[in-house]
Symmetry: C2
Subunit: 460 residues, 2 copies
Amino acid sequence: MKIVEVMKKFVEPQSVAIVGATRKTGEFSLNIMEHLISYGYQGKLYPINPNASEILGIKAYADISEIAGPVDLALIVTAREIVPDMLRSCAHKGIRCASVVAQGFSDALDREGHELSRRLTEIVQTTGIRVLGPNTFGTANAFINFSSSFARIKLDKNPVGIVCQSGLFFHGLPEFRLTGKCIDLGNACDIGFIEALEYFENDPQVKVIGLHIEGVNNPQGLLKTMARVTTQKPVIVLKTGRSEQAAKAMQSHTGSLAGNSLLWDAALQSAGAIRVNDLEEFYDTVRMFSLAPLLKNNKIAVATFSGAAGILAMDAMRDTELEIANLSDDTAAKLTRLAPAWLKVGNPVDYWPIMMGYPDQGRAMSEVMDILLSDDELGGVLFTQVAFTPNIGETIKMFLNYLAEKHPHKPFMSAVSGTYNGDCINGLQQDGKHLAFHTPERAARAFSRLWQYSKLRNGL
Amino acid sequence: MKIVEVMKKFVEPQSVAIVGATRKTGEFSLNIMEHLISYGYQGKLYPINPNASEILGIKAYADISEIAGPVDLALIVTAREIVPDMLRSCAHKGIRCASVVAQGFSDALDREGHELSRRLTEIVQTTGIRVLGPNTFGTANAFINFSSSFARIKLDKNPVGIVCQSGLFFHGLPEFRLTGKCIDLGNACDIGFIEALEYFENDPQVKVIGLHIEGVNNPQGLLKTMARVTTQKPVIVLKTGRSEQAAKAMQSHTGSLAGNSLLWDAALQSAGAIRVNDLEEFYDTVRMFSLAPLLKNNKIAVATFSGAAGILAMDAMRDTELEIANLSDDTAAKLTRLAPAWLKVGNPVDYWPIMMGYPDQGRAMSEVMDILLSDDELGGVLFTQVAFTPNIGETIKMFLNYLAEKHPHKPFMSAVSGTYNGDCINGLQQDGKHLAFHTPERAARAFSRLWQYSKLRNGL
């Protein structure tokens, strides 16, 4: 079976056996089947539990061999000791794919863990069954309301594919969830980054790919695949384990070796991937690529409600390849017509004195932005504002959505701070048209990441 | 009058004249008096407006000279042209302090702005009236429900004093507001950083001081004052204008010169101040010092729900002076007793496998943390968790509050990610006992800032 077909069974299963399904229910029971039912997953479910005849109203089986129909994917959630036996039963039944959720293999430091790990590899080699994990949350796919995570999660149909080595990435933030589609490699005893990347390369539902890498067994193969994929879709990489101590901790986390951080910098760059520095930047960058079109040039206009916020954005653009554009005479003239006589219009465009002359402040902001977004010489526009009342937050959201619809091909991002910024930013993300961040610096950083990838795609 | 007494009139006024008070009311009217009434400010208000006999039920005056009683502070919110005349009237009435809210002085690039600016300085010199601004939000003081910001804000009694050159800092974030007490210097034609810093130095309500500096006229004097203040209270500095272009933009913002960024680095460090890199770090650091006790040593334990999150924290501690501690035999033995046999307990402490063996997961986390917080050899503890349901967010909040009360002298911070992390973090901030951030890296960075200042105060 081709690897993309294998991966489809992991990420788009139509039938799932849960080996070691629990009868406990409720918030802290970590009952995968209960979660799947609550998400609205429509595939067939086969709980395996020798002590139950049914679980949550669904017929249970004492043994995998008793299942009559085909099974795309087995989830193995038993104690580690019996995982090899369960895996053999799955292979015997003809199941081709198994996510081993159980922990305590090469991630454990005891001899039994390593022996169990060796036996898994042996079963993969002798039976041909493919294994995701062990020590994994498995997969998530918002498009079919599926997740094998034992923690309950929220699924959002974002065009985002994540490959990770931790369940951390299944959880998301209030404004954004990475699932989309998520593949947790865990200890990666069989399925690894290359297989997962090839799946997302060929997946029309995924526009942006994010990788959380602790370590890889075949970096050369991964970089080669990555170099091909990045010509089609942006690949964002959070490569962790920068310190010696962290590298050591990773061995007990997923049993992989970390490698040299500077080497990774160089290698990822030459493969066209975007390496980010921390979890916040990983979220920001993936979120940005899920919405923003590419930049045609690096000339940015900043429209700011406050001189100080404009300066913060400029500070953040220092040491990047972005330029604070000189405004064209035409654009400067249009803005000057809106401004009080004493205001010298420059870039950043300080629109606060303009707003003060308008009865409708939302309209003032909107007119300033519209002039900038209509200027073909500008690559993109960064907008800053403060949501200091719920109503102003709502006004900001409305006119940003309006402008995003009017200018769909112009990259355009906002920084919204203030007491009600969370509601405004989350609302914009839910509406799915415009991208807003919490601070000017985060928006400027996102623009710089966008230019990094736009250059690659424009052949610059 | 001594400068501290002058500053008290600006920040703790018992009577305020609003020169140019508007009769418009409602959300977008920017009516300072309406805001003051809604905050519950108890001082005396004198609106000055030649076209009104009363505003919002309060007697209005055509001219400042008509006011009978004493006035601590005048707020001048007229058009720029008449500000000098108004200021002279204030001085004539015996008012010693005026916040000039109007824009268009040295921040404007026209000749009239510079001429008006020159006249303000002249009035200060000849009459002895002290001026905050022009181009300022004035002052805010949550402890007396006062703010002269024309945008309505929320006031929280945080032990935080801010000196800034932008109204941006009056607005705050959902989880934290900098007001406390806030002094916006605006163009700083008279009152500057030194005067504001001396006030906060002597203010028992303020534990942490934050400065947003675009430029200063007397850097030597400021650094001298700062070196004295930092032996008593932490001083956090967001010095903006790192790029050439930003320095130019600042001239049209507050008319001040930016200076060389590297020189500022060195000077601020030798004055014992903590220079932060962006707006988010400014908030995080001020917030941290408002709650955390000092570190006794640099040995940190990380307790993490996920191997990956622990590694992110370690990555963020690389290139800092913090150490991931080797756990003492005693502490390791106590933790090992809670853990499954296959888990090798190290630092980071991966408590997920421990939690899985407990019926009450909140109790499991709490016991692990209690062991670490009770270890006198550890300087501090960083905790990571995910709020993936509202109830788990609530559980995390409860036991963190409990532990913070039990261990008030041990620095201890959390990173809470997940879909419901906002509610959890905001709730903890409101309870005012424990400090939580959005990502492990932000918590690690806060620890590193805490150590930087703890060393100074411990004479290390």
